[in-house]
């Protein structure tokens, strides 16, 4: 379990750092601010690729569907009509 956790930590560290920078970071004043088009395009791309990732995971991990309930037994007409042909007179 420890090895798996360390591996997971290594895998997630860059994303975690990026998210923290996004939350708490300050823009370098020497960098030119992004344009409207750049920001909107970056958001649209990130939105679509993130949605795609959700759909890929869900498609590759289908939920276990419980087996369908058995079909109701067909009631034979003569039985329904009270036909007691099987009885001994």
């Amino acid at each position: 379990v420890n090895a798996a956790l360390v591996s997971l930590a290594l895998q997630e560290a860059p994303a975690a750092i990026s998210a923290i920078k996004a939350l708490f970071g300050k823009q370098n004043p020497s960098e030119p601010p992004p344009s409207d088009e750049q920001v909107i395009a970056a958001y649209r791309t990130a939105f679509q690729s993130s949605l795609d990732k959700d759909e890929q995971w869900l498609a590759s991990h289908p939920e276990d569907v419980p087996p369908a309930p058995p079909a109701p037994a067909v009631v034979e007409e003569h039985a329904a009509a009270g036909d007691d042909a099987g009885s001994v007179e």
Partner: protein, 134 residues
């Protein structure tokens, strides 16, 4: 490596808990209102992506007994919530952050302790970010 990661998580946890809610980076004032909103949504989405990605990656990691670190069931709930959340945010659905906050709280509450120990800090980060939007 473990020490570094633990320190990183501690920084996140302390930062989030110190303020009670995390606010996203302020958009540059030179942007138009639409671009400012896209900028803000992108920051929020990164946090939501992080929770989803950690769950998906932990689901792919197997323990010695072959079971995933985070179950398919928990991962599925988080992936579905992530999908709903970013779609609602993108559509600027009124009250979306409160809805997602509640659902994420419910998932966190019913997650088994072993999964909480892996995902807990990320839940905390996402919840504090969402709280900042409510």
């Amino acid at each position: 490596v473990r020490k570094m990661f633990a320190s990183l998580l501690l920084v996140v946890a302390l930062s989030a808990s110190a303020t009670g809610c995390a606010s996203v980076q302020t958009a540059p004032p030179t942007l138009s209102p639409a671009a400012q909103q896209a900028f803000k949504y992108l920051q929020v989405q990164k946090v939501l992506d992080l929770v989803r990605d950690v769950a998906v990656d932990a689901n792919a990691q197997k323990k010695i007994d072959g079971a995933p670190l985070v179950s398919d069931a928990t991962t599925r709930e988080l992936v579905r919530l992530h999908e709903t959340a970013i779609k609602m945010m993108n559509a600027s659905t009124s009250g979306w952050a409160a809805v997602v906050y509640q659902q994420l709280t419910d998932i966190a509450a019913k997650a088994p302790p072993a999964e909480k120990s892996i995902l807990g800090t990320y839940f905390g980060l996402a919840l504090s970010t969402l709280k900042g939007l409510m």
